[in-house]
């Protein structure tokens, strides 16, 4: 299922911007030794630092240009909040990274476009909450977006154990890829220009790749990146089935792909917005407890102690969909 339809034009924009953005990561491999006036070693990074936020903004604007459904937008905001709340849990503890787990699962359930947006909004909200805004933020946002996008592009037919296994494998792969790209971005900045591990402008690509491989192996691959990959894979294996069930249940309740139809003017005043009619077939699964979508619940419900209906719902879903223990 895809919550956010990606039009062909959007796909082209996404591909072009991703190609240009990849250059902002990999430029140390390609930068020529004797460039014309502009690409001095000092200035090329700055050009790319300015360019990437604009590219990210362009893609985000393009993805949301068709108008995001209010339910998708609320889901995006809430999942980004959960991600942003999860992120500080792992920060600082030997590579334990808790962001990718939900990002991969949500991208899987809600589709590639939603996964892309979720990656960006999660990291942006997290940066605002913990005041981590800096030049690295657009790069992190883009990498996380790619992770969510990739999760949405995995083959759709898989279900059950195979799905969880594939997602865990993808999570580990994405964690390594994210670490590698962020290292690549940080490489010229952390080292400066003239150590033995720095990039050499104009050197053959393989030579620079070799230096980068040594740099990333020395600094992070065996510590941080491996920790991140293991955390993500284990979290997906352990909690994946239950979380997938919860997300799918929410998607079913929201009835994202219900066709929006406007009934003929009825005698009573018609609702002003495009909520799907409650009698659409997709909108009526058995486990909807109350009235269907589009009916505002009591507004004060979240402010006061309320009976934990949601909690019981979740527990029920968790218990009859008990996650399989990993094979080992």
């Amino acid at each position: 299922m895809s919550v956010l339809r990606v039009a062909p034009r959007t796909a082209v924009v996404l591909a072009l911007a991703s190609a240009a953005a990849l250059a902002t990561f990999t430029w140390p491999f390609f930068i020529p030794a004797h460039p014309e006036s502009t690409a001095r070693t000092g200035e090329a990074p700055l050009v790319f630092l300015v360019m990437l936020p604009v590219l990210v903004a362009l893609v985000l604007a393009e993805l949301s240009s068709g108008g995001i459904d209010s339910k998708a937008l609320a889901m995006l905001g809430v999942l980004a909040a959960v991600n942003a709340a999860l992120r500080p849990l792992g920060a600082g503890t030997a590579g334990i990274e808790t962001v990718f787990f939900l990002l991969v699962l949500a991208g899987r359930v809600f589709g590639p476009g939603f996964g892309f947006l979720l990656g960006s909004t999660s990291l942006f909200a997290s940066a605002l909450l913990t005041a981590g805004v800096g030049p690295w933020l657009p790069f992190q946002m883009l990498c996380a977006s790619w992770v969510g996008l990739g999760a949405g592009l995995l083959p759709t037919r898989l279900r059950g154990r195979a799905e969880v296994a594939v997602l865990a494998g993808y999570g580990a792969f994405a964690a390594y890829g994210y670490g590698l790209l962020m290292n690549l971005w940080f490489w010229p900045f952390s080292l400066g220009a003239d150590t033995q591990l720095s990039y050499v402008a104009g050197a053959p690509v393989l030579d620079n790749l070799h230096r980068f491989a040594v740099f990333t192996a020395v600094t992070s691959t065996f510590g941080w990146d491996t920790g991140r990959a293991i955390t993500t894979a284990v979290a997906v294996l352990l909690a994946g089935p239950a979380v997938l069930a919860a997300l799918r249940r929410a998607a079913r309740r929201a009835a994202f792909d219900a066709p929006v139809t406007f009934a003929a003017p009825a005698p009573q005043p018609a609702p002003s917005t495009a909520t799907p009619p409650p009698e659409t077939p997709v909108a009526a699964p058995q486990d909807v407890p109350g009235p269907a979508v589009g009916v505002a619940p009591p507004a004060r419900r979240w402010l006061h102690e309320a009976p934990v209906t949601a909690g019981e719902d979740g527990q029920g879903g968790g218990s009859h969909q008990a996650p399989q223990r990993p094979a080992d």
Binding site: V13, L16, A17, A19, T24, W27, F30, P32, A33, E36, T38, A39, V47, M51, V54, L58, A61, E62, S64, S65, G67, I68, K71, L73, A74, L76, G77, V78, A80, A81, A85, S122, F124, A125, T130, A131, V133, G134, P135, F189, L191, G192, D194, T195, Q196, L197, V214, A242, R249, A250, T273, G294, A296, A299, W302, V308, G311, G314, Q315, G318
Partner: protein
């Protein structure tokens, strides 16, 4: 003099408010976040044009002074220390990497460490070896420049209210900005949700620990959050979210063409920038043109979104002054660089003592302006009525998207 200019503006904004009208401009209020960002970017630009450690240290001091004088007690304002620590880490990293992996160039040997040659697969690198003053100093200068730029951005983070900045995003990014506002508002409620679920578990006598308890808490909280999103969507629908303006087909096509054409230009420009045989016109000019064209397309696409703003931040004279100070600092540093380039980039070999010229001092003075020119920040929210600049939306009910941090979609055109 500045007071008089403020006074003119205040008089225009609120005519006939008594003889001491200028004081209205000095009333505590939150400055437009864009002004702080422009100021900080100006400082960062100034820092990027020099490796003179004295000038860089002065810029850091100016940023810290302004933050201390003009920050609020919002959570983002308290993270400035983190940026200082991060800057120190960057400097240390650069110097340590130079010592461990450095080539050992330079005349003045500090110390000679034992060499550790690495095997062939590691690109023939050797660790440690002789450590020269020039090498360490070069790393320190470079690191200090990067750290200064970082601290300047940290100052903008501490001073500018991110929620109000989100209000100022262009129309095309409105949906994404709203999602971020939702995320910022919902995140604190997750804590309350966790507490509620734990209480319910205790009441039921569940005393599980470890993985089982984690699942018993985490999953209900997640389900709770997902249900909450549906309630929020219903509330947004009932308040008219998603209203769009009719855009003629021709304009839509033009928007698409601008964005696509601009991106093709960006790709070509990037290629030209990284290609050693590329001709001149394919490089930076192409890149910048592409970016401008694509951004124009994006702004055009934003006209589809119709929204009204609740209490928009106005761009007044104080904002102009603050932004102007940053730009002046950048311009003066560049001017100093064209007059005495060797003083802005003090050579590492031969070793020279860095100097500061009057022009640099002028740049630093301009940068320090906002510490006094900007209006003082509003006091703590508990002692003042919730007016401008109060962090809003953090504890608002989830069914209210129309709080002051969000623009009301649709609503009133």
């Amino acid at each position: 003099m500045t007071e008089r200019r403020d006074g003119v503006d205040a008089a225009a904004a609120a005519p006939g408010r008594g003889p001491r009208r200028w004081s209205a401009a000095r009333l505590p209020r939150g400055l437009h976040p864009g002004a702080w960002w422009l100021w900080a970017l100006g400082l960062a630009t100034a820092a990027s044009h020099t490796t003179n450690p004295l000038l860089l240290a002065l810029l850091v001091a100016v940023a810290a002074l302004t933050v201390l004088r003009r920050r609020t007690d919002a959570p983002w304002a308290l993270a400035f220390r983190m940026y200082l620590v991060l800057g120190a880490v960057i400097i240390t990293m650069r110097v340590v990497f130079r010592i461990v992996f450095g080539g050992g160039q330079g005349e003045h040997l500090l110390v000679s460490l034992p060499e550790i040659p690495l095997p062939e697969w590691a690109a023939g690198i050797r660790l440690f070896g002789p450590v020269a003053v020039e090498q360490v100093l070069g790393g320190f200068y470079d690191g200090l420049r990067l750290a200064t730029m970082l601290v300047c951005l940290g100052a903008a983070n501490a001073l500018a209210n991110p929620k109000r900045l989100l209000k100022a995003v262009p129309g095309a990014l409105y949906a994404v900005g709203t999602a971020v506002v939702v995320a910022l508002s919902v995140a604190p409620q997750l804590v309350e949700s966790v507490l509620r679920v734990r209480r319910a578990r205790r009441l039921r006598g569940a005393t599980g620990r470890g993985m089982r308890a984690l699942r018993g808490i985490a999953l209900p909280v997640l389900a709770d959050a997902l249900d909450r999103s549906l309630a929020l969507a219903a509330a947004m629908d009932s308040r008219g979210y998603g209203r769009t303006a009719a855009v003629p087909a021709g304009q839509r096509a033009a928007t698409g063409a601008l964005v696509l054409g601009g991106l093709v230009g960006v790709c070509a420009g990037t290629y030209g920038l990284l290609d050693s045989t590329g001709s001149g016109y394919l490089g930076l000019p192409m890149l910048l043109t592409g970016l401008v064209v694509a951004v124009a397309g994006m702004l055009l696409a934003g006209r589809r979104v119709r929204r009204s703003r609740y209490r928009p931040d106005r761009w007044r004279s104080a904002e102009l002054l603050v932004a102007g100070c940053g730009i002046a600092a950048a311009a003066l540093t560049m001017l100093a660089g064209s007059v005495t380039p060797e003083l802005l980039y003090p050579p590492v070999s031969p070793l020279t003592w860095p100097e500061v010229t009057p022009l640099m001092l002028l740049a630093v003075t301009a940068a320090a302006g906002p510490a006094w020119l900007a209006p003082p920040p509003p006091g703590s929210p508990s002692t003042r009525p919730p007016t401008v600049g109060t962090p809003v939306g953090a504890v608002a009910a989830p069914t209210r998207t129309g709080d002051p941090a969000t623009s009301v979609p649709g609503g009133h055109p």
